[in-house]
Symmetry: C2
Subunit: 246 residues, 2 copies
C-alpha cells in the first residue's frame, strides 16, 4: 500500500505542475516499466507508447496496459504494426523460441535469434513522430546494454546516433523549437539493479510480463532467455519474483 500511494503521488504532482512531457516506450516488461517510472520521478508528464509489432502473445500488450494504468500516464497509445510480414526473428515468426541460447561463442558475443531486425529504430521512429505531434522533446526507451549485449540497437552508440538523426529529421528541431533527447536510463544497469531501484520507488513487478514463450493463460515458461534473465535479476536483487511460473 505504501508503495502504491507513493507512486500515485508522483503522478498527481506531475499533472499539477505542468512539467515537460515525454514519450515513453512501454513494452510491458521490467525495463520499460522502470524507465517510465524513472521518467516520472524526474518530473516528466509521460505519454506511453506501445507498438503491437506482431508479438505472438497478447499478454505483452495486457502487461503494457497494466503498467500504463499503474503509472497514470497522461495517455497510452497502442499502435499496430505487422512486422510478422517481414519475418526475420523468432519473436515475429513461427521459428521456435530458443531456450537457454548461448550469449557467447568462444569470446565473441552471439546475437540470439530473438533479435528483431531494426526493432528499436522502428520503435524510436514512431515515438519521435508522436513526440513531434505532441510538441515534446524527450523520449524514453528501456534499452539495456548489459543483459542484451549482443543486440546492436541496445547500445549507447545507437541511442546517440538516433538522437542525432531526430534533430535533423523533424520540423520541430529544424525550426529550432527544441532539441530532441533520447533517454535510456537503465542502459548500463544490471537487471538486479533495475529491479532493486524499481522496488525502492514502489514498483509492482507482478504487473509486468517478460516471457517469450508463455502458455495460453499467459503464464511464463521460466526457461526462455527472457525468463532466465529476469529470474537471475531477482536473484541478484535478493528479491522474490512476484510472477507465477509454469
Amino acid at each position: 500500500m505504501t508503495r502504491q500511494s507513493s507512486l500515485s503521488k508522483i503522478a498527481d504532482t506531475d499533472a499539477n505542475t505542468g512539467a515537460a512531457g515525454a514519450v515513453v516506450l512501454l513494452s510491458g516488461g521490467i525495463d520499460s516499466y522502470t524507465t517510465a517510472a524513472l521518467a516520472h520521478e524526474k518530473g516528466f508528464r509521460c505519454y506511453g507508447l506501445t507498438v503491437m509489432y506482431g508479438q505472438r502473445h497478447s499478454c505483452e500488450i495486457d502487461a503494457a496496459r497494466r503498467v500504463a494504468a499503474s503509472l497514470k500516464v497522461v495517455e497510452h497509445k497502442i499502435i499496430e504494426l505487422d512486422l510478422r510480414s517481414l519475418g526475420g526473428s523468432a519473436l515475429t515468426s513461427d521459428e521456435p523460441v530458443p531456450k537457454m541460447s548461448p550469449s557467447y561463442s568462444g569470446t565473441k558475443p552471439v546475437i540470439p535469434p530473438t533479435y528483431v531486425p531494426a526493432r528499436n529504430t522502428i520503435l524510436l521512429s514512431l515515438a519521435l513522430a508522436w513526440a513531434e505531434v505532441l510538441g515534446v522533446f524527450d523520449i524514453f526507451i528501456g534499452a539495456n546494454a548489459v543483459d542484451y549485449s549482443g543486440y546492436p540497437d541496445c547500445r549507447a552508440e545507437f541511442i546517440g546516433s538516433f538522437e542525432g538523426l531526430a534533430n535533423v529529421a523533424t520540423k520541430a528541431a529544424v525550426e529550432g523549437k527544441g532539441r530532441f533527447r533520447i533517454h535510456a536510463p537503465v542502459l548500463y544497469m544490471t537487471k538486479g539493479d533495475i529491479i532493486k531501484q524499481g522496488v525502492k520507488i514502489g514498483l509492482d513487478y507482478s504487473l509486468t510480463h517478460s516471457c517469450y514463450d508463455p502458455d495460453e493463460q499467459g503464464r511464463p515458461c521460466g526457461q526462455c532467455d527472457s525468463c532466465l534473465i529476469r529470474l537471475k535479476g531477482f536473484d541478484e536483487a535478493h528479491l522474490h519474483d512476484p510472477v507465477e511460473y509454469l
Copy 2:
C-alpha cells in the same frame, strides 16, 4: 510498346544475373517510380515496399501496385501502419488539404501542413528491417530536396544521418556482413528533370498518382500542392501529363 519492352528487358536481365538486391520504397508517385526504375537500371534486383500509413486515399496504394507490377519487382510488400492515430498532418487526419500553400514566408521557407512528422524516418526504418531480413544492403528512397525544400527529411543531411544510424543499429552491419547504403537518386533533380529522365528510360507516368485530394474515383484535383508541382514538372519537361484531371 518500345518503352515497355525496354523496361521488361532490364527486369529480366537482373533476375538472370543474380545482381545485388535492393529495397525500394514505393509510394505510387512520380519520384519513387523513377527512383525504382533507376535502381533497376543500375542493375539492382528490386524489392518494393509500400507503407499504408493511414493515407486517406486507397488510390495511392493502387498506383504503387501498378508501378510495382510494371517494374516487375521481385516482391512487393505492403505494410499497414496507422499513423492517423498519432495525427499531426493534413495527410493523416481530417485537416483540410491546403490548396496552393506558399513555400516561402518572406525569405524563409515554410514547411506546409502536409508534412507528416518523422515520415521518412519511419519509412526508412521499415525498409531497413526488411533489407536486413532479406540480406540486402541497398535502400532506395524517392526523396526530393528541390520541390519539397521545406521538408526536413527530404535533405541530404537526413539521408546521410539515417545511413550512419543503419550501420550501428543492425546485426548485419555490426557483424560486418556489409554496409547499408541509402540511395536517393532524384534528391537534387527538379520535377521536370525527373520526368524527362523517366520518359527517356520508358516509364509510363499514367500509372502514378500524386494528388493529395482526389475525388471518389481517384481523379486528381489539379489544385493541391502535389498536383501543382507535378503539372509544373510536366510543363518544364515540355511533356503532357497522361493523367486525367477533374
